[in-house]
């Protein structure tokens, strides 16, 4: 599916670039609340951070050559699991968060195991079917548990955490931003480390030619399933955060529309690098917020931007600088 790319940074050669990338991400995350405390900007920034966890984990799955359209469903599973654990079972958010993530990961085993028997467009459509089943399930079944079409309401904010004799609360927008920032930085560190490990190398080999990888003794299915389960774990964490920061859940929060946006962010950014989804998510969210001024023309312009970006930068935005540099050297055309 992806054109073959050179391995950008083999492990052992240099961990400088990934560490610099993580430091840059951390600096940006820390700097933002120093620049503004405006609640609109904090809201957008928190959403970006949550979406970053989702797109970076989606890209982990894409890095083994598979676009999982059910990724958002595992966010939903994590969200509903955490909300119900807190409201029905009565445990604290801090216990519910890891349990919700594990629930999402455990459900990823059978669903991923089933879907990964096929590849390419078949996989794409099967995972899409799964996501619709999960969404319709939340919407139509066990209405007194999941809230049905009117949604699951009354989810409390994350409870306070004791911290050296004082209580850390998570009620204001700034505090929720800080919580999501911490969750994201841990997630990003794990995913970047994974990318520059043996796992990342094998994933890249599978993406470039899974048949060849298979003949070289790689258990392709196991790698794909691992990426699926780890990605779903991260999505479950994001879902638990979403449940307790929004405090209301609707099945449509985990439907086709938000899923499609995640794919847009990931692919526009570029799936060849672990930083592609970061570039895509940040730039496309800002572009989307700016385009909001255009009202009726918003989706029209957004659609045109998508088409042109994909025709001019088929490998995503992060591949663009290298492409431009090559063009300057050899003078080939950038035209599609």
């Amino acid at each position: 599916m992806e054109p073959s790319r050179g391995l950008s940074a083999p492990p052992g050669r240099a961990l400088g670039a990934p560490i610099a990338g993580l430091a840059l991400l951390a600096a940006g995350v820390v700097a933002l609340p120093q620049l503004t405390r405006d609640s609109y900007y904090l809201d957008v920034a928190t959403t970006i951070l949550m979406n970053l966890a989702l797109t970076m984990s989606l890209r982990l799955q894409v890095s083994t050559g598979q676009l999982n359209m059910a990724h958002i469903s595992f966010m939903g599973i994590g969200a509903y699991a955490s909300a119900l654990l807190v409201t029905r079972v009565g445990i604290s958010f801090w216990a519910a968060l890891p349990i919700a993530a594990v629930v999402a990961a455990l459900l990823a085993f059978p669903i991923g195991g089933l879907a990964l028997r096929v590849t390419g467009p078949y996989y794409f459509l099967i995972t899409f079917a799964f996501s619709e089943v999960v969404r319709l399930f939340f919407n139509n079944f066990f209405v007194d548990l999941f809230g049905g079409p009117s949604g699951l309401v009354g989810i409390p904010k994350p409870s306070a955490l004791p911290w050296f004799g004082r209580a850390l609360t998570f009620t204001t927008k700034l505090e929720l931003y800080t919580l999501m920032a911490a969750l994201l930085l841990v997630t990003a560190a794990v995913l970047v480390r994974l990318e520059h490990s043996r796992f990342g190398l094998v994933a890249s080999a599978i993406r470039q030619g899974d048949l060849l990888a298979e003949t070289l003794g790689v258990n392709v299915f196991r790698y794909k399933l691992t990426a699926y389960v780890v990605g779903s774990l991260v999505a479950g964490v994001a879902g638990a955060f979403f449940a307790h920061s929004h405090q209301v859940l609707h099945s449509s929060d985990f439907g086709l529309e938000p899923m499609v946006l995640l794919v847009v962010f990931t692919v526009i950014g570029g799936t060849g690098s672990v930083w592609g989804p970061v570039a895509g998510t940040v730039l496309m969210t800002i572009a989307g917020e700016l385009l909001r001024e255009l009202h009726h023309y918003e989706s029209l312009v957004f659609g045109v931007v998508l088409i042109l970006t994909m025709l001019w930068a088929p490998d995503g935005l992060v591949a663009l600088p290298g492409k431009l540099a090559r063009r300057r050297r050899v003078g080939v055309s950038l035209a599609p």
Binding site: M1, E2, V62, L67, L114, R117, V118, G120, P121, Y122, F124, L125, I126, F128, A129, F130, E132, V133, L136, F137, N139, N140, V260, V263, V264, V267, I268, T271, H296, Y297, E298, S299, L300, F302, G303, V304, V305, L306, I307, M310, L311, P314, P336
Partner: protein, 286 residues
């Protein structure tokens, strides 16, 4: 429960399913030739609906002439989309997904801006009901289903016997080998994409009087079409017909026992059951 009721439910299910098969056939034809999934397919269906609204409901042209015009106009729009955009995306499933999504937004927004967001009702071209063997079916539904079957048969004959149809099947089998035999890939791609969209446009024209016309009308048939082609196997034309019949009968029978929301889940459950047994669909190749 009487057997009449069951047959009636099946008949109701089949009627609409045949139109969704048209949408699915277009989608699967485009997939087999260009190896891309066109998410904006429902928007070509919507275009067919609007052509029908303006030509038939506003200008009062004969219904079947309108239908022919809708098929041609939407087919032409498909050729334009292929030449401008999709020909650069052959085989790039992921990129084509994003681009077709962009096209979906562009077409929906354009429809909202030019036609308004409100539903536009299209009057029925045929009234009355037919009674036979204790079954009741409206003339309109009968005409819609029969027209869909005629279009499916026409597509079959075209692909089976005509020269461009054979070229299309050759490209679907192996594009490189077809090119070596002198098939003009560019021409076949444009024609195939156009025919695929024309089928969606025809379906939109057929269902315009049944449902109202609106910018978002393409969402439902395209989801049904996806279910049908996953069941039948991507790229398989007989698979699309069998998948449509299966979905129609399951939904028709299901509506006897449960509400419409639960019936929607049923379609996806059939998908998962089929895929458990045959991961590439009933007629999917290796």
């Amino acid at each position: 429960m009487s057997i009449d009721l069951l047959v009636q439910a099946l008949l109701n299910g089949f009627g609409l399913a045949m139109v969704y098969v048209l949408v699915a056939l277009g989608l699967t034809l485009i997939f087999s030739i260009l190896e891309i999934i066109n998410f904006a397919h429902g928007e070509f269906y919507m275009l067919g609906g609007y052509v029908t609204y303006y030509v038939f409901a506003v200008f009062g042209v004969n219904y079947f002439a309108t239908l022919g015009f809708a098929i041609l106009a939407v087919g032409l729009a498909g050729v334009v989309a292929e030449r401008l955009i999709f020909r650069y995306l052959r085989g790039k499933t992921l990129n084509a997904f994003i681009v077709s999504l962009g096209l979906l937004w562009v077409m929906q927004a354009s429809a909202q801006l030019s036609f308004g967001v409100l539903d536009k009702p299209v009057p029925s071209a045929f009234s009355g009901i037919v009674r036979a063997f204790g079954l009741v079916i409206s003339v309109e539904r009968l005409v819609v289903s029969l027209s869909a079957i005629v279009l499916i048969a026409a597509l079959y004959l075209f692909l089976r016997w005509s020269r461009p149809g054979r070229a299309m099947r050759a490209v679907a089998q192996d594009a490189d080998a077809a090119a070596l035999q002198g098939v003009d890939i560019e021409l076949v791609s444009a024609l195939g994409f156009g025919i695929g969209c024309a089928l969606a446009g025809g379906a939109g024209g057929l269902l315009a009087p049944v449902f109202a016309v609106s910018p978002a009308m393409g969402a439902l048939p395209v989801v049904k079409a996806f279910i049908i082609i996953i069941i039948g196997g991507m790229g398989s034309l007989p698979g699309a017909v069998v998948g449509g019949l299966l979905l129609g009968s399951v939904e028709g029978l299901g509506s006897l026992f449960m509400g419409s929301a639960a019936v929607n889940v049923l379609g996806f459950l059939v998908v998962i059951l089929v895929l458990l047994v045959r991961p590439r669909g009933l007629f999917g190749g290796a």
